[in-house]
Symmetry: D2
């Protein structure tokens, strides 16, 4: 199993094991070392009072992609901090795509960028996640 | 209706109108001008693969409290950016309390702090939200 | 020496030992456990091309106050991450006051808020710093 | 003058007009549309009490690169918010390189990433800046 296959296996295992991803209808479009792309369709229970996607759900999608990427080397890693800029609103039924890429790492720390766009490519949010490895494996290999 | 009553009415209206708060079981414990305190119990579908509350749900709770506070003056206001530091993990069944307080405002910009703790007071996350007013009323008065 | 005296001694030692604080004319107005208030006057070499205080200098002042607070318990502590919202511009000759307060801590992690205002109280920036203790003493006691 | 030439002219004009860049010894290595790379050597007056580069100066360098990039289209643009993760320390005399790239933009909002590394490529910090255009030209064309 090479690094890309390992990262894909970690991502799919995490999605299967968590309560959130399946509840939100998250789909892994691609996962490889240092990269993941997820999709999620905005449903009625994800809307704020203005009838657009709640910022919390946009963050949650990005945070999920971030988690898959920073655990992709099969070392258990947690989010220490994250920051998000909101760039556009999203209506019910629109499909969101979150594209996560590791930007840098040093010792046990890593930084991952996640761009959230609609399926048509309209910018929705830019997320930056800061992770710390805590040791232990995510999947048995 | 004074400023505290107006802020409370905005918060309760927003909760009633949105898809997310009711779906997540969010309860408003207190809402007044510049302040809101919400509670939410962590459920199975809010857990990550480590069986602790997903960071996205912790953010979503904080972001909800932030939204109620920055709209509390009954001027429609949106999140422009937010940042979160994760300080502790939370198990299924634990109750989270998010306490939001406006720190500063200038022109149409505002900054709100949200402390997320367990009901017992254990620190879970610190959130800082940056909002911009876009005009228009949230509730009819 | 009580906790407040220790924190003050740490702050004054850090200011004396660093290259930056003296170069920028930073003055400690107050330092006690979990709190510090610093002042700095904006000089010509701190201005951006619009002739207002450069955001980097506003951050640097806030970051300095953050460092004094998170080291105040005399355990060496470093900045892991920081976030700043800019709320207003500042002219040459204006005096900036940075007021730092620890918001939360858990294990070796801490979160400190710094409000930057002019001496007249006009909001300039809100800073949130995330620190990690690395062990060892800052001052001999 | 094409977009890359315009962006370069804006960057060089901003550096010439500001107090900070010349005071800090900042050099523009490259500037084109959506991109800038700056360098700065760490001097004694940029050190903290641990004798490593002060986080405020690392931020200031990144913030400068961010400003050149987000103004590069010759529409006056200011920093609304910024976030930084610190990944490694830097000694006196080391040369820092800040590489800034615009990640996304929508309406008057933009997001720019700045990677700060040593000249040898060691990661020092990852910066994310959120900008807003306020209108007006930076340089006469």
């Amino acid at each position: 199993m090479n690094q890309d296959e390992l990262a894909a296996r970690v991502a799919h295992t995490m999605l299967a094991d968590e309560g959130t991803g399946p509840a939100w209808g998250i789909v892994i479009e691609e996962a490889r070392a240092g990269y993941a792309r997820l999709a999620m369709t905005v449903r009625a229970e994800m809307l704020n009072g203005h009838r657009t996607a709640h910022g919390g759900m946009i963050f949650a999608l990005a945070d999920t992609a971030f988690a898959y990427v920073c655990n992709g080397g099969n070392v258990r890693t947690v989010a220490a901090q994250a920051s998000i800029v909101f760039l556009g609103s999203v209506a019910e039924g629109e499909r969101l795509v979150a594209e996560a890429q590791e930007l840098a790492s040093a010792a046990r720390n890593g930084v991952t960028r996640v761009a959230v766009r609609t399926a048509e490519g309209r910018p929705v949010a830019e997320f930056t996640g800061y992770s710390r490895s805590i040791g232990g494996a995510v999947v048995d290999v």
